[in-house]
């Protein structure tokens, strides 16, 4: 029979400093996850997301805002202004906007802070169709998106806006875009980080060239290509 009492005759047990091992191991393991965390978390969240969504937990979205409160969508009075360097400025009601040619897509959404939502279903209008009636003038090479959330503004070149899966969306996941996701319309450009996907769009203005948008004034890149900007993959 072994005697398990420490320090007793027969089997003296040297105390071991395991507590600091647990502490240091956890700290080192946690810090190393800065290099592997996202890859692992992507796999885990894909596996648990059906369960999580049933429980009403994390859809994976985080709601970022810059103003104290979110713009409120009032369908009867809401208008989308299309102006700037155009031959015929437009003011579209929500109804008129939805009567434009519709496009649908399922795409990924990346935030520059590191989270991602896969398989987001969007419905909306391509910018070619949105801008057709306004007739952009030859000198215009970029779009300015003015958000109803002041003072948020951002820009895309016309070339970027005409990429095949870029749209002004009014539906997300099969229902009208919720307030926190930018009701009633937001920009969707999956190739770029979320801050280029302007929410609560109130005005689309044709301008000569892109200027400095809201987050860009804090040092974020004008061209927010996923994986190739803002310090990632460079």
């Amino acid at each position: 029979m072994d005697d398990l009492t420490p320090g007793s005759a027969g089997e003296p047990v040297a105390p071991r400093r395991i507590g600091r091992g647990v502490f240091l191991g956890t700290v080192v393991g946690g810090l190393s996850s800065l290099w592997w965390g996202q890859a692992v978390w992507g796999g885990v969240s894909k596996a648990v997301s059906p369960v999580a969504s049933v429980l009403g937990l994390g859809s994976g979205w985080r709601i970022y805002t810059v103003a104290a409160s979110m713009p409120v969508f009032e369908p009867r009075t809401w208008r989308l202004k299309i102006g700037g360097m155009v031959a015929r400025p437009q003011e579209l009601s929500y109804h008129e906007l939805r009567a434009l040619p519709q496009a649908r897509q399922t795409s990924v959404f990346h935030c520059v802070t590191g989270w991602t939502v896969n398989g987001v279903e969007w419905r909306g209008v391509r910018f070619k169709d949105l801008l057709a009636a306004a007739k952009p003038l030859p000198g215009a090479h970029a779009l300015e998106f003015v958000s109803a959330e002041k003072p948020y503004v951002d820009y895309l070149t016309l070339e970027q806006a005409m990429l095949p899966d870029v749209m002004l969306a009014w539906e997300m996941g099969g229902q009208p875009i919720l307030q926190e996701h930018g009701a009633p319309v937001r920009v969707v450009i999956p190739e770029m980080y979320g801050y280029k996907n302007v929410k609560w769009v109130a005005e689309v203005n044709l301008v000569r060239r892109p200027e400095v948008g809201y987050w860009e004034q804090y040092g974020y890149d004008n061209d927010a290509w996923v994986g190739r900007s803002n310090g990632y993959g460079l």
Binding site: R17, V22, F23, S33, G37, G58, T65, G114, Y232
Partner: protein, 200 residues
């Protein structure tokens, strides 16, 4: 001290515990507002919440350091050593193999303390990286937010276990008295922490 009671936690130890708890709950509440869309919508004012969450985190760690420095430093160091050292009996406790008497802390409490300390360091580092990463790409890692979120889930799991044992589980919840008033019943101490030298 009331007869039949023994002192388990000093004033400094209790201060460390409750300052830690207060800070954690403040950060949990403000963090969930930033994290859960429904709460974000209900509360709004994201910039303000983000600011008090950040400074709350800095204050959390700073106030613990202040308590440690101004409090009973030698006593706290002694406690840290107690938590650090695992004896044969702790291994028995963990493996469930003939555990006999525990000292002032059992192995579960020691591991809980080590993990909490590690989580605090990781919360602080990832939080600072999130904050400064917003201003400077040199501090930006794609996985910082994953680490910060993962810590939330891990520490919530620990917290739920801790709350169950300290508030609900019939044989262990008397320990709460020790953390509030400093003293526990002698017979309870003998039953749960037989090898603890209470100095009586």
């Amino acid at each position: 001290m009331k007869p039949g009671y023994v002192r388990r936690f000093s004033k400094s130890e209790r201060a460390v515990h409750w300052v830690n708890a207060l800070g954690f709950f403040f950060l949990l509440a403000t963090g969930l507002i930033l994290y859960l869309p429904r709460l974000s919508v209900a509360v709004g004012r994201r910039q303000f919440i983000q600011e008090i969450h950040f400074w709350g985190g800095v204050g959390w760690v700073a106030s613990l350091l202040i308590v440690a420095v101004l409090g009973d430093r030698r006593g706290l160091l002694r406690t840290a050593r107690e938590l650090d050292v695992f004896e044969r009996e702790d291994v028995n406790w963990l493996s469930g193999r003939r555990p006999r008497g525990q000292a002032r802390f059992n192995a579960g409490q020691k591991i809980n303390a080590a993990l909490n300390a590690a989580f605090m360091v990781l919360f602080l580092v990832s939080g600072l990286l999130l904050w400064f990463g917003e201003q400077d790409t040199r501090f930006r890692f794609a996985s910082t937010v994953v680490l910060h979120d993962g810590l939330l889930y891990a520490s919530l799991a620990l917290l739920l276990g801790h709350l169950y044992l300290s508030l609900i589980h019939p044989t262990t919840r008397h320990a709460l008295r020790g953390m509030v008033l400093g003293t526990v019943r002698e017979d309870w101490a003998r039953r749960h922490h037989a090898r603890w030298d209470t100095g009586e």
